[in-house]
């Protein structure tokens, strides 16, 4: 055994030297010239966006606490249905902590209306979801549901909610077709892919001044849909190439090669941060000087954590107000989550729960009353204005641009529509 | 019940004649004794650079018991394997009744009429003795998956015949009492016999026995010799590889001797015993177990 190491280790050492020599030959130690793309314009010929210092939290945003005088039956229950475990758990945890926070705040302020909270685990799996959803639907004390987080599971269960008349607000499923099934109980608490796509196109071209945009999509429902609407909104001449990657992929050499070949100045990555972060990092490492744009699925503190300095070139689109920038929310959230900061869709979960809690406070403690209440709801939440169309889409949705500044995601203002 | 299964209900003991009729229904047909059944012509097998079998030619005649002997590593089993399709000969032919066996799949060779046993017993351990034999019988059956699923009349008929013939074969080799025991739990001797029954079940024209007496005591060998003769008398041709000279000399009609992959002698047992080349070959390797007793 010892003999093996004797052979192996010198071999590695020898080779490391090769690597090291190469490093030092091009100037002073490993990676001193990090060569990251310009974050603030200039070097790459692109415009930069000013950081937005003040966040437009709607002054009259509805809070779950209400007026503190609400009265309701002690069995009144809200539920979260979605991933709690499994590979998709993180998104679900972000959401139900938001819901938990809303309910905690409500119950603290309203001693006579203690709303119960139940969670049902779907693992984010369309085939698993029917069981928990049926269970939730059969529990008559549940008057409203926050969920389901993913488009796939929403598709496989929307009908069950519809049959039971149980209203639910999805805080994160963005597939446009979800509102075209005639489900009256389905409400979407954020913009769908059709809203974000054109905004992303606008950010890439008009706002950042990109002339050559490269669109990369993952193989998720979300990524595919968003890439499609983004490409459609881009001027034909500005789209220099497209590529597809797969969920779980960690090496993007081929895609990076294609981007470099295309001489693109802006890359739009339509997917989630798990692939987006290494992709951006590898782009920059290969010498990409342009900007990187990701949608709300990429806009996550994890992105910066994983991509490091490479993330300086990143911009994000999101039809949301950044909850982690609202200090009061972030602090309160951390108490519920056990210390972790709010993540993607935490605010949406909080807002969705707030709307239902407001309904309960107003005596809407049956499913049909709750559905009617949501349908006619018209008020600001923490992240946006909530007013639904007849199909369950939100009516007007500003899409915000975000950028990375000093290792944080900061708002760069609203992306003008049209 | 209109079948030929001896019905235990009537309390009658089955006669040996009845069993023999079931085991070898074709006995009367296979009587053109002496004609060549299988002909090996210039058969050569090489592994890499090593020639295991070097231009070996001989014929196996209908109705005879042919012994194939030689010192260890002489190529006996290789010859066997080349005939039964395990190895592909690099040169030469094996023909059976005029049709070539070379290049045929192992199962096709079996169906063409060559059956074998293995030197190191290779039964289907999880199966009962009877089931083992029925696998051999299945070589002649035609039912396939749909027929089996829906239990077509042919399937039912074949299954019934299988049990009947399988039991008769077990009776023939003398282990019918253990028909429903898993073959793994049979005694060594019974396993050897079962291998022979299983090979016979494929209705071969030529039965190849690869050291069937290995590990037997003299009494068992005696029984085996009787059994081999019975098999021949029932119209089968037998090719026998065996170390035990007494057994070989006692049971075979003719003998082929191999050494270092070449044929060095061929003839009646008497002739072989006196052949100087054979004696020379065996003197070199003679030991207590394998020597001429």
């Amino acid at each position: 055994m010892r003999a093996t190491k004797l052979i192996v280790i010198p071999a590695i050492a020898a080779v490391m030297t090769v690597a090291g020599c190469a490093n030092s030959s091009s100037g002073g130690g490993g990676g001193s010239a990090s060569g990251t793309g310009g974050s603030s314009g200039g070097s790459n010929g692109l415009k930069s966006l000013p950081e937005q210092t003040k966040i437009d939290v709607p002054a009259d945003a509805v809070k779950p606490a209400g007026d503190g005088k609400a009265v309701c039956a002690p069995t009144t229950t809200l539920a979260y249905v979605g991933a709690e475990t499994g590979a998709n758990a993180q998104l679900g945890i972000n959401i139900y902590n938001g819901v938990q926070l809303a309910i905690d705040e409500h119950n603290k302020a309203n001693p006579k209306c203690q709303v119960q909270f139940k969670k049902f685990d779907t693992e984010g799996d369309p085939s698993k979801a029917t069981g928990p959803v049926t269970q939730a639907v059969n529990d008559k004390t549940i008057v409203g549901v926050v969920g389901l987080p993913f488009s796939g599971e929403s598709k496989s269960t929307g009908k069950i909610f519809q049959q039971a008349g149980l209203p639910h607000i999805t805080p994160s499923a963005t597939n446009p077709s979800l509102t075209q099934n005639g489900w009256t109980t389905f409400f979407r608490g954020l913009g769908n892919d059709n809203v974000q796509g054109p905004a992303a196109a606008k950010l890439a071209t008009t706002m950042l001044g990109g002339k050559k945009v490269f669109v990369v999509q993952d193989d998720s429902d979300y990524g595919i849909g968003l890439a499609k609407t983004t490409q459609a909104a881009l001027p034909k001449a500005d789209l220099v190439g497209t590529d597809k990657v797969t969920t779980g992929q960690k090496d993007f050499s081929a895609t990076v090669q294609k981007v470099m070949n295309s001489k693109a100045d802006v890359v739009f990555y339509s997917g989630y941060y798990a692939e987006g972060a290494p992709f951006d990092q590898q782009l920059v490492q290969k010498g990409f000087k342009g900007d990187f744009i990701g949608p709300d699925g990429v806009k996550d503190p994890q992105f910066i954590k994983q991509a490091g300095d490479a993330s300086k070139n990143a911009y994000f689109t999101c039809p949301c107000i950044p909850g982690d920038l609202i200090p009061s929310f972030a602090d309160a959230y951390k108490k519920v989550s056990g210390g972790t900061a709010p993540g993607t869709y935490s605010v949406e979960g909080y807002d969705a729960a707030t709307i239902m809690l407001t309904g309960i406070d107003k005596g809407k403690t049956t499913r049909s009353a709750m559905e009617q209440f949501i349908r006619t709801y018209d008020a600001d939440g923490l992240s946006k204005k909530y007013k639904w169309t007849s199909t369950g889409e939100l009516e007007s949705l500003p899409v915000y641009a975000y950028k990375v500044s000093n290792g944080n995601i900061v708002s760069a203002g609203v992306i003008p529509s049209s | 019940m209109s079948t030929a299964i001896p019905d235990p209900a009537d309390g009658r003991t089955v006669t040996e004649q009845e069993i023999a009729d079931i085991v070898a229904p074709d006995r009367e047909i296979a009587v053109s004794v002496g004609e060549p059944l299988v002909v090996l012509d210039e058969l050569t097998v090489t592994f890499g650079g090593l020639t295991a079998l070097d231009h070996v030619s001989f014929e196996i005649r209908r109705g005879e018991i042919l012994g194939l002997i030689g010192p260890n590593g002489a190529g006996k089993t290789t010859c066997f394997n080349a005939m039964t399709g395990v190895y592909k000969p690099s040169h030469g032919t094996v023909t059976m009744e005029g049709a070539s066996l070379v290049g045929k799949k192992k199962h096709a060779i079996t169906r063409a009429g060559v059956a074998r046993t293995f030197q190191n017993i290779r039964l289907f351990g999880d199966m009962t003795a009877l089931e083992n034999v029925v696998v051999g019988l299945d070589a002649r059956h035609r039912t396939s998956v749909p027929g089996a699923i829906f239990r077509t009349p042919r399937h039912v008929r074949e299954e019934r015949e299988s049990i009947e013939r399988g039991m008769a074969l077990l009776e023939f080799v003398g282990i019918a009492g253990e028909a429903t025991s898993p073959s793994r739990s049979l005694s060594y001797g019974s396993q050897r016999r079962l291998e022979i029954a299983r090979a016979l079940a494929t209705e071969p024209k030529l039965l190849c026995l690869d050291e069937p007496a290995a590990g037997f005591n003299p009494a068992e060998k005696e029984e085996l010799m009787t059994l081999i003769r019975q098999i021949r008398d029932d119209g089968y041709t037998v090719l026998l590889i065996e170390h035990d000279m007494k057994l070989v000399m006692g049971v075979t009609d003719r003998i082929v001797v191999l050494e270092f992959g070449r044929k060095i002698a061929e003839g009646a047992p008497k002739q072989i015993q006196e052949d100087p080349a054979v004696i020379a070959a065996y003197l070199g390797v003679e030991d207590d177990d394998d020597g001429v007793a």
Binding site: P132, N138 | F124, E159, E178, S185
Partner: protein, 399 residues
């Protein structure tokens, strides 16, 4: 005992009797007494017991027994359906792995093909001709058999370990193709997959939130499949499979066309996999590329091995357990695979034959053989000796 050899073509009574024997016989030496008692029971009592068991199984979701129930975590009838689905899958995989001894790590591929067949011909998202859902079941079987043969022809000549990796690759290819081929809609998937017809009080019976009808249908299918597989087992085909599993070379030498029968095993397994996939698609009502991964393939394999590779009752029970445990104990959802992994190791060490070890009857009319054995050898005690032999074997296995 009057066993009628000219019995009905399905051999219903006899087959059931043999299956029952098999079930009882396989429980290891500790249960020998039980087996003996079971055998001693008069026929009608055996039937009575079996019928009661069947009835309880059939109405399990309606009974919804406390403690056993998976509520409030997940709907019990749907959990029951999931058990039945897994049982059916395990039944199919058992043919391939348990009977023929072919290690198939890509069985999920067949399941996926079945699901997509149901989706393509019934979903509102599909542009193909729509046919009634029930017709997609045989169609799914035909299509998966086609895929099974397509995969089998180049690969079944390979030896065990090579076959394992190639089948694993096949499963992955099917999953990837589901993402790549636009007609299969990748992650977007197919909504509103069809269901069997029928309404009750104006509501659809086979609704995707009502597990009971789906469960009962699947259980009925399982029973039919088991009877048919039993027929196969006690035939030339079943014997060929076991022979191949035990010693492929010897089987070939005994005239078994091993390639052909391996292909049949693959095809049969594929058909059952496809069937379960189609039923699954109908129940969930939605099909996309999400759940057809290697890990699920491994769960299927775990089900077969847990229950007892080669024993169809074992496979069914194994399938049901693998599906039930995570639904019953949701707390362990995150530890599910960890626990399965450890269980697999422990099982292989202490009870490699699974809960119900394989002991297949490969011949019909066992009773007749026993009598014949006794008479032909002229030893009245031969039958008893036979039983003793069995017990010996089992002790060996138990070590």
């Amino acid at each position: 005992m009057g066993i009628n050899p000219e019995g009905p073509p399905m051999g219903g009574a006899e087959a059931a009797q043999l299956d029952a024997d098999e079930l009882a016989e396989t429980k290891g030496s500790r249960l020998d007494k039980l087996r003996g008692r079971w055998r001693a029971l008069p026929r009608w009592q055996q039937w009575l017991v079996l019928s009661i068991v069947a009835l309880v199984v059939f109405f399990l979701p309606v009974i919804n027994p406390p403690i056993i129930t998976t509520e409030p975590g997940t709907d019990f009838p749907l959990a029951c359906f999931d058990m039945a689905r897994f049982a059916l899958v395990a039944l199919g995989l058992n043919v391939v792995v348990g009977q023929a001894g072919l290690l198939d790590l890509g069985y999920i591929g067949f399941f996926a093909v079945g699901s997509y067949v149901a989706a393509l011909w019934t979903s509102s998202d599909s542009t193909y001709v729509h046919i009634p859902f029930l017709w997609t079941l045989p169609l799914a079987m035909v299509v998966t058999v086609f895929f099974g043969v397509l995969l089998g022809i180049p690969t079944l000549r390979l030896r065990g370990d090579y076959l394992a990796i190639v089948t694993l690759g096949f499963g992955e290819i099917i999953r990837l193709l589901a993402s790549i081929v636009p007609a299969l809609r990748g992650n977007v998937g197919f909504q509103n997959v069809g269901a069997p017809p029928g309404t009750h009080d104006g509501k659809q019976i086979f609704d995707n939130s009502h597990g009971t009808p789906w469960y009962m249908m699947t259980v009925a299918i399982i029973i039919v499949v088991m009877l048919l597989l039993g027929n196969l087992e006690r035939s030339r085909v079943g014997r060929a499979w076991v022979a191949i599993r035990e010693d492929e070379d010897a089987a070939e030498t005994m005239g078994v066309p091993t390639f052909k029968f391996k292909l049949w095993a693959f095809g049969t397994g594929a058909a059952i996999g496809g069937l379960s996939g189609a039923i699954f698609a109908g129940q969930v009502g939605f099909v996309n590329n999400q759940k057809f991964d290697v890990a699920t393939s491994m769960l299927f394999l775990a089900a077969v091995v847990l229950g007892g590779s080669g024993n169809k009752f074992g496979a069914v029970i194994g399938g049901a357990i693998v599906s039930y445990i995570p639904n019953r104990f949701i707390e362990i959802a995150n530890y599910k695979y960890l626990i399965f992994g450890v269980v697999l190791i422990v099982l292989m060490i202490f009870r490699p034959q699974g809960l119900l070890p394989a002991r297949n009857h490969l011949l019909a009319a066992i009773g007749r053989i026993r009598q014949w054995t006794g008479t032909a050898s002229g030893q009245p005690e031969a039958a008893a000796a036979t039983d003793a032999g069995r017990i010996t074997l089992r002790k060996e296995e138990d070590q």
